[in-house]
């Protein structure tokens, strides 16, 4: 029941975001016709093009027209590329989503493995060292991390060729090989945050009374850790994962520039410069849907895992 409510409110949020985006791009200065024909075009030429683009209709009419199209999966035609926006995005979206998912995966593995190690060996030298390194990594922004990764793994060790890219429909394996490095750059700072969160959760749970009770039932310290402590410590981290995924999707748009990967970020930038509104609107709606969907997923996961919210 609550989940149904969440789904309905998620749909409403998508609607509001799409409206805002549409209105915003109709209000801000800049003329797609001028952007396409250049400043040397005659007024008649511009007027004709505007009519052809449907820009002469009043705003509400254009909005309704656009929403009806979107509901049928039609985001209009790109002004500058001249092909349907849906095709353009369908081609690039897998890049963004793959990168975000790989990044998410790297983040979870790093955070969970290291946090478990540190919690288990709380006062060991290596445990403390991980804590210090973690502080450093937390403060490296992805674009800078990306530059360092390119320098070390791309230029020095030649593990990948910087600026190179192979599309997923040509060779999936090599494509993923190119996705991993930017994904690491995005994942590292997020992983260190997740690590801190999970570690403090683990240490907090370790001190709770139910741990003593669990020991008194003949559990080994390993059994207490994995069977009792770990799950409870993961609960607050799940919320963070939802936010992190949203951040990572936004992060991919930036990191693409560093690694020269032609994904959504690249089209988004050129489309904003060219006033290619249908493309910009479609990309923003897509990202909004991804973010909202990941939050919805977290809510559902939370319900499943947390005994207290049921």
């Amino acid at each position: 029941m609550k989940i149904l409510k969440k789904i309905v409110s998620s749909i409403l949020v998508v609607l509001v975001v799409s409206t805002l985006v549409f209105v915003a791009f109709s209000v801000i200065p800049g003329d797609p016709a001028v952007a396409k024909l250049g400043t040397m075009a005659t007024p008649e030429q511009l007027e004709n093009l505007r009519q052809a683009m449907g820009l002469t209709d009043p705003l509400p009419v254009r909005y309704v027209h656009w929403v009806l199209g979107v509901l049928q999966g039609d985001f209009g035609t790109s002004y500058s590329y001249g092909i349907p926006v849906t095709d353009l995005i369908a081609d690039k979206l897998p890049v963004t989503v793959t990168m975000a998912i790989i990044s998410m995966f790297i983040m979870i593995v790093l955070a969970v493995v290291l946090a478990i190690y540190s919690a288990y060996h709380e006062h060991s030298l290596l445990g403390r060292a991980i804590g210090v390194i973690n502080q450093v990594i937390m403060s490296i922004p992805p674009f800078f991390g990306g530059i360092i990764i390119t320098l070390i793994f791309g230029l020095t060790f030649k593990l990948f060729s910087p600026g190179g890219y192979i599309s997923y429909d040509i060779n999936l394996g090599k494509f993923i090989g190119y996705m991993i490095w930017p994904a690491i750059a995005i994942a590292l700072p997020k992983a260190s945050m997740a690590y801190s969160l999970l570690l403090s959760g683990l240490i907090g749970e370790k001190k709770k009374d139910y741990v003593r009770t669990a020991y008194s039932r003949g559990n080994s310290s390993k059994a207490v850790f994995y069977r009792h402590i770990l799950k409870n410590a993961c609960i607050p981290v799940i919320t963070f994962l939802g936010m992190a995924f949203a951040d990572m999707i936004a992060g991919t748009l930036v990191i693409e520039q560093v690694f020269g990967i032609p994904g959504l970020g690249m089209i988004l930038l050129t489309s904003i410069q060219n006033r290619d509104y249908p493309v910009v609107e479609a990309i923003i709606v897509c990202i909004a849907v991804l973010v909202i969907f990941s939050n919805l997923l977290v809510d559902i996961l939370y319900k499943v895992v947390d005994p207290r919210t049921r």
């Binding site: 009770t213 559990n219 009792h228 409870n232």
Partner: protein, 253 residues
């Protein structure tokens, strides 16, 4: 030392027990601090008796309880158990059960770990113990969060009884509960003691509850036992000023 119960079987022997902790360094330059918690404790417990352990907070009662169960390291001395699987009931029933496990899992885990009972036998035993502490067997599928404080403490008692212990240590088992529930739990413990022939080390700071429930009482101060005798002896004729003070402040003397 009192000479009551000397004709009975011993169930626990604590000999000259010392426990001290070193404080964790909070910064790199701190010196490690050693804190003595227990300073030479000796006493015996016999089968079927309820012994009250009374003292102000911080005097080492809980540390003694945990040491007896091997939950913390002892510095010096001996603890000899003459029974298997001594168990403990903790003060706070809200935190001493894992919120994400069902009552069934909690009750049966010790059987899984330490006995060869099969699934059906384990469930039967869990049901029986729940019944003995006054709870329906439909509570098996619930999680601790769905139970009241009193019900949770009953689950804790059932949990402690799963391995058929002969010795039970109850560390202030009622001080987190409200008064009416306290009386119920005390009554339950007294009943279970008779039914199962348990020995109970009952830790409390409430001298009235100790008087109602216990056969023998030990008064603890600064990590030492300063008085040990039957409840009647100690309450009628306290030997130390500290005990007199305690009794006075409880309005008993």
């Amino acid at each position: 030392m009192s000479d009551v119960c000397n004709n009975q079987t011993r169930i626990l022997e604590v000999k000259d027990l010392f426990v001290s902790f070193t404080e964790e360094k909070s910064s790199l330059f701190d010196k490690k601090k050693k804190i003595d918690v227990l300073n030479g404790i000796s006493f015996d417990m016999y089968e079927g008796e309820i012994v009250g352990l009374v003292g102000e907070s911080g005097c080492g009662k809980s540390t003694l309880a945990k040491s007896i169960l091997g939950l913390n390291k002892i510095t010096k001395g001996d603890i000899i158990h003459y029974s298997q699987y001594p168990q403990m009931i903790f003060q706070d029933p809200y935190n001493s059960l894992n919120p994400s496990k069902t009552i069934e899992f909690i009750l049966e885990e010790s059987l899984k770990n330490l006995t060869k009972l099969n699934v059906e036998e384990r469930r039967q035993k869990a049901k029986k113990r729940l019944e003995q502490v006054g709870l329906d067997d439909h509570y098996l599928i619930h999680k601790p969060g769905e139970l009241s404080g009193g019900q949770r403490q009953r689950v804790c008692i059932a949990n402690a009884l799963m391995l058929d212990p002969k010795l039970l240590i109850a560390d202030e088992p009622v001080s987190a509960l409200d008064v009416t529930i306290q009386a119920q739990i005390i009554k339950l413990l007294a009943g279970l003691q008779k039914e199962l022939g348990l020995s109970i080390l009952f830790i409390s700071h409430d001298l009235r509850v100790v008087y109602e429930l216990c056969d023998r009482v030990m008064i603890m101060k600064d990590g030492k036992i300063i008085e040990d005798g039957t409840v009647d002896e100690v309450y009628r004729n306290p030997q130390t000023d500290y005990t007199k003070q305690l009794l006075l402040s409880a309005g008993i003397m």
